[in-house]
């Protein structure tokens, strides 16, 4: 396993190469508060291409910003930075990473060759509309990573269902893939229920999803 440092605005991200291979790379996006695992998860080993994992801002071996300011859109920028390094890829996201994978599939439809959504921490976010306004002040003494600001802010980011489906529709329209999204999750927050009901999203098993995207150009 090797790693490279990538610059995204003022953050230094760490992209881990978990396994070599030939063919299109697979990019793994971890869940809220997690980091890239030490080795490629066994459920992904049927993939023939190289497998990469990105540590999001404030997580794992990536740098920790001062004073928070996290958004899921900002993490989409993290994932886009990884994509620029490895080229067109199929993306597997867990929890928060699954939501980011959806955003990235809509924002970079030519470069994301399928997004696979898995259960994981931070899948629900802050729900479909804002809750009671609050100002999270994480304990400054808490040691990270993960950055306590990331945990406080990204567990609270609002994910309206129609916002999520707009990204999927854009992926359908511009990726040339009939099925840019595979939903392999048991948990169904509202944004994901809406997305899973759209044409272009298929509920399936991760093995099947990997086979499907390995075959698309």
């Amino acid at each position: 396993m090797s790693a490279v440092r990538l610059r995204h605005s003022r953050t230094l991200l760490t992209l881990h190469r978990l396994r070599d291979g030939s063919g299109r790379p697979l990019l793994l996006l971890h869940g809220l508060g997690e980091r890239t695992p030490e080795a490629a998860p066994s459920e992904l080993l049927s993939w023939s291409g190289p497998i990469f994992g990105l540590d999001f801002t404030g997580h794992g071996a990536s740098s920790v910003p001062r004073g928070g300011g996290y958004t899921a859109e900002g993490l989409m920028g993290d994932a886009d930075t990884a994509l620029r390094q490895i080229g067109r890829a199929t993306v597997v996201g867990r929890g928060l990473g699954a939501y980011v994978a959806l955003l990235l599939a809509g924002a970079r439809p030519a470069d994301v060759r399928g997004a696979i959504l898995r259960d994981g921490l931070g899948l629900a976010g802050g729900g479909p509309s804002p809750g009671t306004p609050q100002i999270p002040f994480p304990n400054p003494a808490a040691s990270g990573p993960p950055d306590p600001f990331a945990l406080a802010e990204l567990s609270n980011d609002v994910r309206p269902p129609d916002y999520a489906t707009a990204f999927l529709r854009q992926a359908i329209e511009l990726s040339g893939l009939e099925r840019p999204l595979s939903v392999c999750c048991a948990e169904r927050p509202e944004w994901l229920a809406a997305v899973a009901g759209e044409p272009g999203a298929l509920e399936t098993h991760v093995d099947e999803a990997l086979r499907h995207y390995a075959a698309v150009s």
Partner: protein, 312 residues
């Protein structure tokens, strides 16, 4: 100032009605340094002014002294990435509100009066809802979002999902680390800013440039973080803010612009009335644009004083 001023620049830096703050200090919010400034008697009741997106505290250099001479301690700060505050790694609405609370805490234990313009009005609204015990009264200066997406609110604040907008934003993020602003003369900066502020006189914009920009060997550059980008997209919608206005537990005066312009929010009193809490007042200033406190500093200061006097 970082370098000697030419005679022309020195003239620009002297505006007949503007007065630089009496005191300047810094507040550290979780490692981020925020520039705070004050006008008036430090023992007087405090008013905190919140500037709009892509502005800075110096935009209150005419308005704040008027309130200070009416017997208030007037405080303002540069939001992260703006004016003399640190350029941050990340920017978000929530982070701006948290920074604002750090500034409120630095003023003292007593509740303060908030006056917020544009985005500053919107983050003030959020702060009041999250920490009502810290606020005594609220004056909102053309900072009530209604139907039109606010143009001076960055990044995650919109629902437009044009492919071009998304890829443009991502491309900007990649370039942001190394981006530097274009150098220009003070006059050049003022004229460029006038495209977004068409109703504001050049004399004022030259003054703003003289305090909001720094003089490098190759010319003047705005101090604002080049990583910030107007516009954007995101899950936020105006109706969420608007419907929560009804819950505000503090006395409220809303002063709205009526002249449409690029940075304006185009909210009218009739849009707001159904969402006002009891005893709140919202009014329109005929013939005035988005920067109500810059176009009519005296009138807006008098309205603010009158409103606060009624609370005593």
């Amino acid at each position: 100032m970082d370098a000697a001023l030419t005679a022309e620049e020195a003239t620009a830096a002297r505006h007949p009605c503007a007065r630089r703050p009496d005191r300047q200090r810094f507040v550290s919010c979780h490692g981020l340094r925020l520039a705070v400034c004050e006008w008036g008697d430090p023992g007087a009741p405090a008013i905190l002014l919140a500037h709009g997106g892509f502005d800075f505290a110096g935009t209150f250099d005419v308005f704040a002294p008027l309130l200070a001479s009416a017997g208030y301690r007037v405080v303002s700060w540069d939001q992260r990435g703006h004016g003399d505050s640190d350029h941050a790694e990340l920017y978000s609405w929530e982070a701006d509100v948290r920074d604002m609370l750090a500034v409120v805490d630095s003023i003292g234990p007593e509740p303060v009066v908030l006056v917020g313009h544009s985005k500053g009005g919107a983050i003030s609204t959020h702060l009041i809802q999250a920490a009502p015990h810290r606020v005594r009264a609220f004056v909102n200066l053309d900072g009530i979002p209604s139907h039109k997406p606010p143009p001076d609110v960055a990044d995650h604040e919109r629902t437009r999902l044009l492919a071009r907008e998304l890829s443009g934003w991502l491309d900007h993020r990649q370039a942001a680390a190394t981006k530097v602003r274009k150098p220009d003369t003070l006059d050049g900066l003022a004229r460029r800013r006038q495209r977004m502020n068409p109703r504001l006189p050049l004399e004022w914009l030259r003054y703003l440039a003289s305090i909001g920009a720094r003089k490098d060997p190759d010319g003047w550059r705005w101090k604002i973080d080049p990583a910030l980008r107007p516009g954007g997209f995101g899950p936020w919608r105006a109706v969420w803010s608007m419907s929560r206005f009804a819950s505000l537990p503090v006395p409220l005066l809303g002063i709205l612009a009526t002249e449409s312009e690029p940075m304006g929010w185009d909210t009218r009193a009739d849009d707001v009335r159904p969402y006002l809490p009891p005893r709140a007042r919202v009014m329109e200033l005929p013939g005035v644009g988005h920067f109500v406190h810059i176009e009519r500093p005296k009138e807006v200061a008098e309205l603010t004083q009158g409103f606060l006097a009624e609370l005593r």
